[in-house]
């Protein structure tokens, strides 16, 4: 084969990858590991070095304060704490993110956090990123980073004066590192696939809960909700949430609010962590196994409330042509990806994908947008049948409607465990068009 210089290489097919190091190690059945390894793609290039204890390469100013204030609690400044720590945290986050971007650019994948926190938020790393991220999120980040530069010097001064906020800082620092790692994997699209992203996010939350330690008088629930909201908004800044992630977060918040007040902190943490583990296991992994393996060809698809399928770009075209030639189209989708939103066309809610594979010279000459969306909408009349872990239905809209109600009941905590056989019966009852 004569190599043609302009022939674009096909993009590496992203598998569903979950970094092994993020998986919970204690009581884990071998079957689960196997399941996870099924989902695992090539994880050689995912940096798992963060799983080790944090390296000492921390900014000098912060390091000094860390050791002395680790175990101190100061009740007097409690009301101030959330506000300060949040602003501080955001500043640190931006600095770390910028440093990460700079490090990535120079090709050094360093686990060290911002080597120099005092550096101005460089516009170059952000602008120089090759992959097209959402311009909105970039603009936000730039704006935020500009804001934070101004706030940062006063924050640092305040840090030296007021030792109290440091108490939470260490935990936050590690948690934030975990999320950083997660987000830098998500943003360039390293973790791709709705399932993998959801699992990775839930595991990061799990770590956060693990590392979290309640200040004295505060109720765990409030703090946890507050923190989870801030984590979520941070995640959104990096990349819009997928539908599965949105549902998972809703579930998590629900569980948090349901925590009994009488529970001690460690009990609460253990209960939340086990909830997350079960969620991952039942909703995602087992659901995948229930679905017909041979038909599974998409790693991301969600079904909206009017029966339209929201999945990777190109699905709609394939479904349309198959429909035109009378070929049945089967959509396999886990039930937890159902959404009550409706959408009519693909442009209203979408993400930009990586640049179309054009030779560099051509791209320079074109000087125009290569606009590629990541997802698209398949209208429900192209779908012959929807197959979920709840059953099969020839009318996707009906199934989504019925399933959502049941799913919401599940979220409310009425019945967490479900058996596939029972759900099949339920599907028959509700949709009336169950096909074995």
């Amino acid at each position: 084969m004569i190599p043609t210089p302009d022939r674009p290489r096909p993009p590496p097919r992203p598998g569903v990858r979950v970094p092994h190091a993020l998986l919970p190690r204690p009581p884990v059945s071998s079957s689960r590991l196997d399941a996870l390894s099924d989902l695992d793609g090539d994880d050689d290039d995912v940096d798992v070095s963060w799983a080790r204890p944090p390296p000492p390469a921390l900014p000098e100013s912060i390091k000094v304060n860390l050791t002395e204030t680790k175990n101190r609690g100061d009740p007097t400044s409690v009301p101030q704490k959330p506000k300060l720590s949040k602003a501080e945290r955001r500043a640190i986050q931006e600095a770390q993110r910028a440093a990460k971007a700079a490090a990535k650019e120079t090709g050094v994948k360093s686990t060290a956090k911002a080597s120099d926190v005092n550096t101005k938020m460089p516009k170059q790393p952000k602008a120089g990123k090759a992959s097209l991220k959402k311009d909105v999120s970039q603009a936000n980040a730039l704006v935020a980073s500009d804001k934070k530069t101004d706030e940062h010097p006063p924050d640092k001064d305040r840090k030296k004066d007021v030792p109290q906020p440091r108490m939470q800082f260490d935990d936050l620092h590690r948690v934030v590192k975990a999320k950083k790692r997660l987000d830098f994997n998500i943003c360039p699209g390293d973790i791709s696939g709705g399932n993998a992203r959801c699992i990775a996010m839930l595991l990061a939350f799990r770590e956060a809960i693990n590392d979290y330690s309640t200040p004295a008088e505060k109720i765990p629930v409030e703090i946890l909700l507050l923190k989870s909201s801030s984590y979520v908004s941070f995640l959104i800044e990096c990349r819009p949430l997928s539908i599965s992630m949105g549902n998972a977060i809703r579930f998590l918040k629900n569980r948090i609010t349901k925590l009994a007040l009488a529970m001690s902190e460690s009990e609460a943490k253990a209960s939340l962590q086990s909830d997350i583990d079960r969620f991952i296991n039942e909703k995602i992994i087992v659901a995948d196994k229930i679905l017909v393996q041979t038909l599974r060809d998409k790693d991301y698809c969600a079904v909206l409330s009017n029966g339209t399928v929201y999945s990777r770009v190109g699905t709609a075209s394939v479904a349309m042509v198959a429909h035109a030639f009378g070929v049945p189209v089967l959509i396999c989708c886990e039930a937890y990806k159902f959404h009550e939103r409706v959408q009519l066309d693909s442009i209203c809610f979408n993400e930009l994908d990586a640049v179309v594979h054009v030779s560099f010279l051509t791209l320079l000459i074109i000087k125009s947008n290569s606009c590629t969306c990541r997802y698209d909408i398949t209208p429900s009349d192209y779908v012959s049948m929807l197959i979920t872990d709840y059953g099969m239905s020839a009318s996707p809209a009906q199934l989504v409607g019925c399933t959502d109600m049941e799913y919401l009941n599940h979220l409310a905590g009425i019945n967490f465990n479900f058996l596939p056989a029972r759900i099949a019966v339920l599907a028959v009852h509700r949709t009336g068009s169950h096909v074995h």
Partner: protein, 416 residues
Amino acid sequence: MPDVQPLVSDFVLKLKRRKVEGSHAVARQTAELLRSVVSQHRMGSSANQAAALADAVRAVGEQLIAANPIELAVGNVVRRVLHIIKEEDISSTAVGIEGLSVTVDSDDEYDREDDDRPSLSAAVLAAHARNALRAPSLQTLLEDIPVSPAISRTASSTGDSDGKSKSAGDKTSTRKLKHDVIAAIGDLIDEIDSCYEPISEQAVELIHQNEVILTLGRSRTVKEFLYAAKEKKRSFRVFVAEGAPRYQGHVLAKELVEKGVQTTVITDSAVFAMISRVNMVIVGAHAVMANGGVIAPVGMNMVALAAQRHAVPFVVVAGSHKLCPLYPHNPEVLLNELKSPSDLLDFGEFSDCMNFSTQDGSPLLNVVNPTFDYVPPKLVSLFVTDTGGHSPSYMYRLIAEYYSADDLVVRRKSSA
């Protein structure tokens, strides 16, 4: 025809090896080759000069069509030339029959022969034959005597008999026939070359202001069409679907940007997502079949379906040399060609999957890389050709104008 055979063999070889790209180039070269064939043909003194000439053309045409059956432009041009020969023969016969009166006014003929109906003169027969060759129009339908096929046959036979009797005028008439045919083929070549102007002139009627246009792959006709609209200061932007696996859309995008057209390159899979924001789809074609169906580069059927779904007009621009008188039977298979899988896959990565030495000898991995797609006529809103804009249901009328019915199968007639 020993002189022209090497040329024919050369061209046959080029067609077989797919060295000639694009229907425009193929049509032009075929026409030039046939012109050489006609000019080299030695007109015998036997009865039917035209039939002998047509036969010679058919012999060459058969070889050319067999070399590349997918390249329909070859067959189109061959049939056009055969039609030209027939037409020139009819008109020269008519002239010969009537002697000195060269200009035959068909209308006068009709007025005069009202009382002559039972005995049709040879001139009238010739006029009828000529009308039969023209596209049926309302005028001819109302005024014509409806015995055209029989009349045309008798006209040619009377012409032959007359020609046979006039042995003295043979030399001049045969030379005139050859001369006329060569001139007409020259006209055909000019028509093929200049097909872009009449098409581009219609651009201003179709493209207004603030239009969003979608196209797939790269078509020179579409490029000229959009250039003309840009010249006339129409405001529009273009989405170019890249057209995998050859990615010719990138080249078109570059060309459009050079003229200052706002262009966006999208993948083929994003067409359905983007088409809701598009006003019009304008595409080129490889060939247009007799039923109005379109043979187009692969991916076009998907674009046409998406356009239909979103009620977006699907406009096909094509020169008249792409118009084929055949009806497409199973076009996805019979009018298609599978290209090399190297466009899609890297042999290095997949060499072990392509292993032929398994038990039953067939590989587990198949790669299908078709060249063309078939778009049924119901998905096409408009054809823009050098004769104007037409709906798909009108295409058969154009065919009747350019081709004759008995040339559908190009085969050398055993009887000279």
